[in-house]
């Protein structure tokens, strides 16, 4: 007998059908109200685009803006597992929550500054290897050669595998006795490594997994950029006697910039925010030795039930990301032209 029974299917479709019907009714009534107010009453000039955006605006307001505001509110509360329903709100709680972020361990032992440094190292190592690996592979692939399509397809596999599966499978492979990593090391005459009980090696393990996962994205993006560079530039450079390195430095890199900039920003944000890989491969352990900011945030809230503290902590993390992105966009001229369509 299949565990998936007819009843489960019918029930599921019923529940989801009801929800979609409800959403449709909500959207229609919202539009009717907006029509009456904006068009009939206010005769608003931009009524039509506004009405077109209204459902999305409402969705973003309910599920992004409201939770965001509620999160700030929670940061000023003493909410925890014991005070889930009856919690109090006040400046004093907000201030002590914020100070606690820097003052007391975020989890049991690891402090904010350790986590911040570790997140920085984690992001830097990963992004550097992603870009270097992606660049090398893309340059090797960017030429007429036999088997190019096959290489490309195989090299994209780590990106194509669902991340959860890749992370869980890698975790098994770092098993001391039965994982292939140690078996290979021993075959090469090296000593097996205690991947999951030594914080240093555990950190190496998650970095290896994440580098493996992230190179294909950079490779494909950079390859797309390389293919859009006209070969005329290289022909001209060769006539002028430019060396291979000079061609790379003065033609390839500048012309890749418009592709590399957004790719690196995305890469940094994804790596900084990468919860799945660390949480599923090491769980942040051993001894909180591989936790980064986002995994410790999750654990502080959902494993240590420090809700008010967690809310304040998430605001601090968000501010760091925001400042980074703004600075980077200013320096690089980022998404110029994206809205001048």
């Amino acid at each position: 007998m299949l565990p998936l029974t007819w009843d489960i299917v019918v029930q599921g479709i019923g529940e989801v059908g009801k929800l979609i019907f409800f959403v449709a009714v909500a959207v229609i009534s919202l539009e009717v109200v907006a029509y009456l107010i904006l068009v009939k009453w206010l005769k608003f000039k931009n009524a039509l685009p506004f009405m077109l955006m209204l459902p999305a605006l409402a969705g973003v307001a309910i599920l992004i803006l409201y939770p965001f505001g509620f999160n700030i509110y929670l940061a000023f509360s003493n909410m925890s597992m014991y005070r889930f329903k009856e919690f109090s709100v006040g400046w004093q709680y907000g201030i002590s929550n914020l100070l606690d972020v820097f003052r007391v361990p975020v989890l049991q032992r690891v402090t904010f500054f350790q986590l911040f440094l570790r997140t920085f190292i984690w992001t830097a190592i990963n992004v550097v290897f992603h870009v270097l690996g992606g660049l090398i592979l893309a340059i090797l692939l960017n030429r007429p050669m036999r088997g190019k399509a096959i290489y490309r397809t195989l090299l994209v596999v780590p990106w194509a595998i669902p991340q959860v599966i890749a992370a869980l499978a890698w975790r098994c492979e770092f098993h001391y006795q039965y994982g292939f990593v140690n078996i290979l090391l021993e075959k090469l005459g090296l000593r097996a490594v205690q991947w999951m009980s030594d914080p240093f090696w555990a950190f190496i393990a998650v970095v290896v997994v994440n580098i493996w996962l992230g190179i294909p994205f950079m490779m494909v993006t950079i390859l797309g950029g390389l293919q859009s560079i006209s070969p005329d530039y290289y022909d001209a450079a060769q006539i002028d006697g430019a060396s291979g390195w000079q061609q790379f430095r003065f033609i390839t890199l500048p012309l890749l910039n418009p592709i590399l900039t957004p790719a690196i920003i995305l890469g940094v944000i994804w790596t900084f925010n990468n919860f799945n890989v660390i949480y599923l491969v090491t769980g942040g352990g051993p001894m909180e030795g591989t936790d980064i900011l986002v995994t410790s945030l999750y654990k502080a809230v959902f494993e240590f039930y420090r809700y008010g503290f967690g809310a304040a902590y998430s605001l601090v993390i968000f501010l760091f990301l925001l400042v980074f992105s703004v600075i980077y966009l200013r320096i690089s001229g980022g998404f110029k032209g994206a809205w001048e369509a």
């Binding site: 299917v9 931009n46 685009p49 991340q163």
Partner: protein, 298 residues
């Protein structure tokens, strides 16, 4: 006469020699490139081949230190156990229904909003687009707690409805960017002609623009589907009942019994990963253009 001839032959042989030298150099270079690429491919693919190999191991040889890709006594037992004795199909069904509903709601919200961003130069348009980008910067986990509290208070904990609500808006900003970029490429003249013929703007949108944008809608839908389908963290918070688990949660449960269920876990991974990989390979070129936010169009 003879001296000239010998001179000619020496010229010819040195010419040939340098030619064969550059040719050998080119061949060496090409061999080196192929070698590097082959090594890279092995590194990229080997971990997944291992998963396939472990899924074929018979129960008695589950824990072995053999690296053989086709294990001794290969069997499909793990797949049978997975499908008949585990809740695998229920997990897939839960993931499927949640993802499909998420896509439907997300597209409903994104399709019209992107049209407004593409066609009207209203005040606040630019800020709106930047704001959508900013929402992508919110760390995962930041909105998790408030949304969790909302869902618990609405009594939607452990339900499809709660999951779908939590997921529905997540990929809307990305979809709006992707669809806006595509609408921008549809010539306005088409709509202007329809408006001259007396159609109202909404009919024009549904009858002319939307059908033309079908490929972009499909891609946006595909990506929000993949996002919801592969999501782990939100599901972990929102679902506690094993019968409501989406597949990532179920898989983690299997993996936690690593020493006894490694083969079953691997079989499950193979069954989910192969369709996902095919879908991904088929659609990745559109993903790139969407990720670079249409900001790079020449």
């Amino acid at each position: 006469m003879t001296s000239m001839k010998s001179q000619e032959t020496t010229l010819l042989t040195t010419g040939l020699r340098t030619y064969s030298k550059t040719r050998r150099k080119a061949m060496l270079k090409s061999a080196a490139i192929h070698f590097v690429l082959i090594v890279a491919c092995i590194i990229a693919v080997y971990p997944f081949l291992r998963v396939v190999s472990i899924s074929l191991r018979p129960g008695v040889a589950l824990l072995s230190t053999s690296l053989a890709l086709i294990p001794k006594g290969a069997t499909l037992d793990n797949y049978r156990t997975l499908i008949l004795d585990k809740d695998f199909t229920v997990w897939l069904w839960n993931s499927l229904i949640v993802s499909v509903a998420t896509v439907l709601i997300g597209l409903l919200l994104a399709a019209t909003a992107a049209y407004a961003f593409s066609r009207w130069k209203f005040p606040g348009r630019r800020q709106g687009l930047v704001f959508l980008l900013l929402t992508q910067m919110v760390p995962p986990g930041m909105l998790l707690l408030p949304i969790y509290i909302m869902v618990v208070r609405l009594n939607l904990f452990n339900t499809y409805t709660g999951m779908i609500i939590a997921y529905s808006v997540g990929s809307v900003p990305f979809s709006i960017w992707l669809l806006k970029g595509y609408y921008d490429t549809i010539p306005k003249e088409l709509e202007e002609a329809a408006l001259v013929d007396g159609a109202d703007p909404l009919t024009t949108f549904y009858r002319i623009v939307l059908p033309l944008a079908a490929p972009a809608l499909a891609i946006a839908g595909l990506f929000s589907f993949m996002t919801a389908w592969n999501e782990y963290m939100m599901a972990r918070v929102m679902l506690q009942k094993a019968s409501m688990f989406t597949w990532p949660l179920g898989f983690q449960k299997l993996r936690d019994q690593f020493t006894t269920q490694w083969g079953v876990f691997s079989a499950a991974s193979v069954l989910v990963a192969i369709p996902a990989m095919l879908l991904f390979l088929y659609s990745s070129k559109w993903l790139i253009s969407g990720l670079t936010l249409g900001g790079l169009k020449e």
